[in-house]
């Protein structure tokens, strides 16, 4: 088991190498000039060129790539052009926000999605099923930013119970922290919960049709026990998979929600880095997102083993 985890961790390395190469390649070919962005619209061409040289942007592709790899393997991911700090520091500052947002969003999504999916599947083809699945469709179809804006205008503004944006650090003011993350978490949770509900329903339906469920019913087992112990337990693998995907997506930063609610998370970091062509920061954040995905994947695989004893890795 430990060997398995170690082997998986080692396999992260080539993936991350490959991803960073692709990102480097794309950034090299996408037009854009950080020196121009730093100096502003009214800078003279000569000033822009001088800054390009001092930033090493006049260098060809291969030396730049090798230089970056050389420093990255020593743990030096460079300094952000704009944020006045190292790439590692910049990411480390944003991670708590993203982690908290992911946690809250995921909990809400599971609390809504799993029960809704179970009810819909057990009451298949009734008005309850139609209502739940209609709601899920709506949740999937509504873009996240729109849901966020609706919550701001119809919950935050009239009641004043929640701020319309901004982030309060957890250790500075725990209650304020919760208030600042409630609406963004709800927007994320509703949308992702819809996805989980659909997956739960279809996975449950598949199991409900199996012979052993009929047998269980025939021998007079209580319906509650059948659903919980026999059906749900055996439908968990696809549900866990989709929860894993949701977690990966959220860890990569909920860009729209972070923008609407002005939360300083990883998603806004990567967007603003791209908008300013902050090359070292883009590289660093993409690597971080890649790592999160790989780590979530690993956790999901380990969870499979827990919920289904037949799954064994060696």
């Amino acid at each position: 088991m430990t060997t398995y985890i170690l082997r998986r961790l080692v396999a992260f390395v080539p993936t991350m190498f490959g991803i960073s190469f692709l990102v480097f390649l794309m950034l090299y070919f996408v037009p854009g000039d950080p020196a121009q962005m730093i100096l502003g619209v009214d800078a003279t061409p000569a000033a822009v060129q001088a800054l390009q040289v001092s930033m090493g942007l006049d260098q060809p592709f291969v030396p730049r790539l090798l230089g970056w790899y050389g420093r990255a393997v020593q743990g030096d991911f460079g300094r952000s052009y704009y944020l006045n700090r190292s790439v590692v520091e910049a990411i480390a500052e944003r991670v708590p926000v993203t982690l908290q947002l992911t946690g809250i969003g995921l909990i809400i999504a599971i609390l809504i999605g799993v029960p809704a999916g179970i009810i819909a599947s057990v009451r298949q083809n009734t008005w309850i099923d139609a209502l739940v699945m209609g709601g899920a469709m709506l949740g999937l179809a509504l873009p996240g930013f729109l849901l966020g804006l609706l919550l701001i205008f119809f919950v935050a503004l009239p009641t004043g119970w929640f701020p319309t944006g901004g982030y309060v650090p957890l250790f500075q003011d725990p209650l304020g922290n919760l208030r600042s993350l409630a609406l963004p978490g709800l927007s994320l949770g509703l949308a992702q919960g819809a996805l989980i509900a659909r997956m739960t329903r279809s996975s449950m339906l598949e199991v409900l049709r199996l012979d052993y469920v009929r047998t269980a019913r025939a021998k007079g087992l209580h319906e509650q026990i059948i659903i919980n112990r026999h059906v749900l337990a055996n439908s968990l693998i696809p549900i866990i998979t989709v929860i894993g995907i949701v977690a990966g997506v959220l860890l990569g930063g909920a860009i729209a929600i972070e923008t609407v609610f002005t939360l300083p998370g990883v998603g806004r970091l990567v967007i603003s880095a791209v908008k300013r062509r902050d090359y070292p920061l883009i590289q660093g954040v993409i690597l971080f997102i890649t790592f999160s995905y790989l780590a979530v994947n690993l956790v999901v695989d380990l969870l499979y083993m827990m919920v289904n004893p037949r799954v064994r890795y060696s």
């Binding site: 009214d42 003279t44 006045n84 700090r85 205008f153 002005t262």
Partner: protein
């Protein structure tokens, strides 16, 4: 029946209590402003970015500044003398001006600051004539110029990237981007105490600020009274989040609000709206190195065709309060420079004439590429409107290439692959600032016209205001005759302040000195 009023009372009390706590959190001594972007740096000497100077105005001051009427007024200098040849400028500094670190400003600080400025500023070429900066005594500084320069004061006062006066001991040997937050020591009414990029800039009142009481508060000069203990500038990039924030009282001020929300905000009793004048003017620049757009007749055809009213409506969602159609390179508010030279060529909307010119130019249906971006919504809408007019009215073969803003800026540097690109010109405090747009030395969009160069040079060298006005009027006429670029329209922003505050004056940039709680 008897119970429901009591429930209502309890509910109202609860809501008031909650509302009360949120007001206590945001009001009082901290003034919070929702800004549209995060500054790339706060070292105003090294960048012309708008967000940089907007922030720096609170802690960095210069020798001279522009007032509300766009005239140069004293700031850290008390007075100055100019010799007859416009080649020696002597400044007398105000005495006893404190830096944020407790030092008192002296001539040596001015010399060191200016030396750093002409080393690191993107506008340093503007000061190429400065030969020597001499500290005559502790409170007198002389600038010796190698050649006459009538625009020296105007250039010095220009806030685009300005010679902020900093303590000599701090800036010695510093380079671009090397100033740390704690090294941003100026003489302004607020001190910079914290900057978390993309999160906030925290400014704290400078208790030993030396108020320049020789003048009322005006523009960037005069008496700057700091009424708030702290000012927090918070970048809120999503426009609707700024709207929600100012309406809920989360922020006390918000800039660049969507003009489509104007009516809604006007109806809100908690919010006072302002239309920011002057704003910027939008412009389409031509690729002068291209065969088609390098052809004057072709450019004239496009100039003749466009109906600016409909372009401006597209840019502002049809809100008439937020655009102005006027031909000048200068804003109407810049009374000493505004003129009407070449006006007949602006906003012609003459399709017949345009068709004739297009035929004369030899255009044979080649593809015309318009660049644009979605970071600036106004540019995107403007280009779509223009493309539509060229297609339907002139039957041109138009394609629109949508990039992001940095991508567009980089793409424009290619000689091939594009014909027309949008941008905006921010307020040019002094007309000589147009050199970076029109003079061939700037190489902007490969434009090179010796007649334009001569007019710009006459304007920069002119000894009297009349001479300079004549030169820039001529430059404006050439701008239209030669179709250097196409002016679309002046466009204004919407900004808002909570009604709990009085004393806000809308101008080129928000300034929170002189603003106070009612």
């Amino acid at each position: 029946m008897s119970r429901s009023p009591r429930i209502r009372t309890v509910l109202i009390a609860a809501i008031l209590a909650i509302a009360g706590t949120s007001v206590a959190q945001t009001g009082g001594e901290i003034f919070r402003a929702a800004m549209q972007t995060n500054p790339p740096t706060l070292d105003v000497m090294t960048s012309t970015a708008f967000a940089t100077r907007q922030t720096a105005f609170y802690f960095f001051e210069s020798l001279v500044a522009y007032d509300e009427e766009f005239d140069v007024v004293p700031m850290l200098a008390e007075s100055w003398e100019v010799n007859d040849q416009n080649s020696l400028y002597t400044f007398h500094l105000r005495e006893g001006v404190n830096f944020h670190n407790g030092d008192v400003m002296e001539a040596a600080d001015v010399v060191a600051s200016f030396e750093r400025f002409i080393e690191v500023s993107p506008r340093k070429s503007r000061f190429a004539r400065v030969e020597e900066i001499e500290a005559i005594d502790d409170s007198t500084v002389a600038f010796h110029l190698a050649a006459p320069d009538a625009t020296f004061l105007a250039a010095l006062a220009s806030p685009l990237s300005y010679a902020a006066i900093m303590p000599a001991e701090i800036i010695a040997g510093q380079e671009v981007g090397e100033l740390e937050v704690e090294e941003m020591i100026g003489t302004g009414p607020y001190r910079l105490v914290d900057w978390q990029p993309d999160r906030f800039v925290k400014l704290v009142r400078f208790e030993e600020y030396s108020v320049n009481d020789s003048l009322e508060r005006t523009g960037l000069g005069g008496a700057k009274i700091a009424n708030f203990a702290e000012i927090h500038l918070v970048p809120v990039t999503e426009p609707s989040a700024r709207v929600a924030g100012i309406q809920s009282g989360e922020y006390d001020y918000a800039e660049a609000l969507p003009t489509t929300q104007f009516t809604q905000l006007q109806a809100d009793p908690g919010v006072e709206t302002y239309i920011t004048r002057p704003g910027v003017w939008y412009v389409l620049e031509f690729n002068h190195s291209n065969e088609l757009t390098g052809n004057l007749t072709f450019r004239r055809a496009i100039q003749a065709a466009l109906d600016m009213e409909s372009v401006a409506r597209a840019m502002t969602a049809g809100q008439e309060d937020f655009y102005r159609l006027q031909p000048s390179l200068f804003f109407n508010e810049q009374a000493q420079w505004w003129n009407e030279a070449g006006a007949e060529a602006y906003n012609q909307a003459d399709v017949e004439k345009a068709r004739a010119l297009l035929e004369e130019s030899g255009y044979a249906g080649e593809e015309i590429v318009l660049l644009t971006n979605r970071d600036y919504d106004s540019m995107y809408k403007a280009v779509l409107a223009v493309a539509n007019q060229l297609e339907t009215n002139l039957g041109m073969n138009v394609s629109v290439n949508v990039l992001d803003w940095p991508g567009q800026r980089a793409f424009e540097k290619n000689k091939e692959g594009w014909h027309i690109t949008p941008t905006f010109y921010s307020l040019r405090f002094d007309p000589s600032d147009f050199e970076s747009s029109f003079h061939s030395s700037a190489g902007r969009k490969f434009y090179n016209n010796p007649v334009m160069d001569a007019a710009m040079e006459r304007g920069a060298a002119g000894a009297t205001l009349e001479e300079r006005q004549a030169a820039y009027e001529e430059a404006q006429r050439i701008f239209y005759d030669d179709v250097t670029a196409l002016k679309l329209a002046d466009v204004f922003d919407l900004e808002a302040v909570r009604t709990e505050y009085v004393g806000f004056q809308s101008w080129y940039t928000p300034r929170f000195w002189g603003v106070e709680a009612e």
